[in-house]
Symmetry: C2
């Protein structure tokens, strides 16, 4: 890989990325194609049966029109089922959860703005709020990442590990801790509390929230006809989970990205300009520098940057 010119390396990386996308797509196609077709067939059969049994009394298109309205309404989070005992759509807890899903870029989509004003406000709010959130996380990072590196320093001295190994061990421990506390534990709680979802679905939901993918196909408490107070408690719990869990996730990602091993790997693929103290310092902060004394990567040949 070191012998290839930089543009060839990037090209290879990009192609590998696209191949990975394709591979994932093919696997999902194989896993999901049949269930989706079955669901579609069931739905069509139900529609056909319905039409056959009751079509005589229904004018042509009346049922489709009704279905269409109900589906459009659901796309914006308005439920057509239930007797209204569920909390209203844009009450404060739901709206808070929605704005949090905007600013964390999770974007569940179980609720979405209907009005032009609402859409315009969402764009403006996110355009201002996202940079502010990033700045907040950067500020918190300055404070928390050095705190997190202290256990590593202690372990390094106690067990006499080399600084890079101590950093790796610490990052892995932090990663496991965050996964345990912010994915597995909440998934177990959710699985226990919410009767109709499996442990896998609970883990799937927690992971999809914390990675900010936020598919939104499963939302705890949503549509389950809970008492409004309980439902609001669920929403506030989810809100807190989203904010704290994402902070934890971001700190973990930061910790991993500052590992000398990861830096070396990125450098290996990356620009091969002269490596010097400022470049090394480009990711390592003050405390991490104390931990990791690995010399500038020997893997990156000294060429002028030519991309």
């Amino acid at each position: 890989m070191g012998a290839l010119r930089p543009w060839a390396r990037y090209g290879l990386l990009a192609v590998a990325h696209l191949l990975a996308l394709g591979l994932g797509a093919t696997v999902l196609q194989a896993l999901e194609g049949p269930p989706a077709l079955r669901l579609q067939a069931n739905l069509r059969a139900e529609l056909a049966t319905f039409q056959a049994e009751f079509g005589a009394c229904l004018p042509a298109g009346a049922l489709e029109e009704l279905l269409g309205t109900a589906l459009v309404a659901q796309a914006h989070g308005v439920s057509s089922l239930g007797n209204g005992s569920e909390a209203r759509n844009w009450d404060l807890p739901s709206a808070l959860l929605f704005t949090a899903s905007l600013l964390t870029t999770t974007g569940y989509g179980h609720m979405a703005p209907l009005s032009a004003g609402g859409k315009a406000f969402c764009v403006a709010y996110a355009a201002l709020g996202l940079p502010a959130s990033l700045a907040l996380v950067a500020a918190l990072r300055h404070c928390l990442v050095p705190l997190l590196s202290r256990p590593g320093a202690w372990v390094a001295t106690c067990w006499q590990l080399t600084p890079p190994r101590a950093a790796l061990l610490q990052a892995v421990a932090l990663g496991l801790l965050v996964v345990g506390v912010f994915v597995l534990l909440p998934a177990l709680v959710l699985w226990d509390v919410q009767g109709n979802c499996s442990l896998l679905e609970a883990i799937y939901f927690c992971f999809s929230s914390l990675s900010t993918i936020g598919l939104g196909d499963l939302l705890p408490g949503h549509g389950s006809g809970l008492h409004p107070v309980l439902y609001h408690l669920c929403q506030f719990a989810l809100l807190g989970y989203l904010l704290l869990g994402l902070l934890a996730m971001l700190l973990t990602v930061e910790t991993f990205s500052e590992l000398p091993q990861v830096r070396a790997m990125v450098k290996f693929f990356g620009s091969s300009g002269p490596v010097n103290a400022e470049d090394e310092g480009a990711i390592l902060g003050q405390d991490e520098l104390a931990l990791s004394n690995m010399p500038p990567s020997a893997a990156a040949p000294a060429q002028a940057p030519a991309c």
Copy 2:
């Protein structure tokens, strides 16, 4: 602000963030509450009318059951309307778009896995693919950000601007270029091509995609009964847009985060440990260091880090 202890500053920042969340929620509640209630009322009225007119022939609950099935199917992207001429759900272009929405964390949610195997695969795929994507972006950043800083260096010499001003001008110009090319231009194209959406909705969609919020309430071409070939072209266009647009967005965010002005602001709120060359280098890369010679921020008093 400088007189406050670090923990008080962070507390203030966190409170400000929560207040901003609350403010957004209140505004959206005011904007969206009434339209959602109206939609719900319309839907209930339609249901009631339907029941009144045809309820005699329908057994109790038959309609609700049918609606329930249709809504659940839609939540997973299976459409109950249309005569099947629309491309099948998990065909390759749709699956590609789905995996791209996973790896970019956009997560539209217009399609979602039904089977347990599919959900487990999504978790594993994203857990491996997201770090790989981040590493790819880090590698590309090494190459592209220095390239992007060259115009700034040229402008600095030609117009004899101070390096921080040249960096700011360059960042703003890059931001405007990216917004123009990746938000406004695609929105105009989408508005022109897709008959049933306004320019605001097109901008809203482009912004929601590039910010990775991905609410998924509007998806170009989806459900519009296009010819399958055209629909696939739409999907590939969206795929390319997502990947390139996000890369452009990330590079812009990176460029802004490396501005001395932004660094100073984050430092002002952030940890007030001793500032030195490694810390300065923590964000400035090699080429940016040449552009911005601002001394370590005087705003951060020299205290031992105490959070």
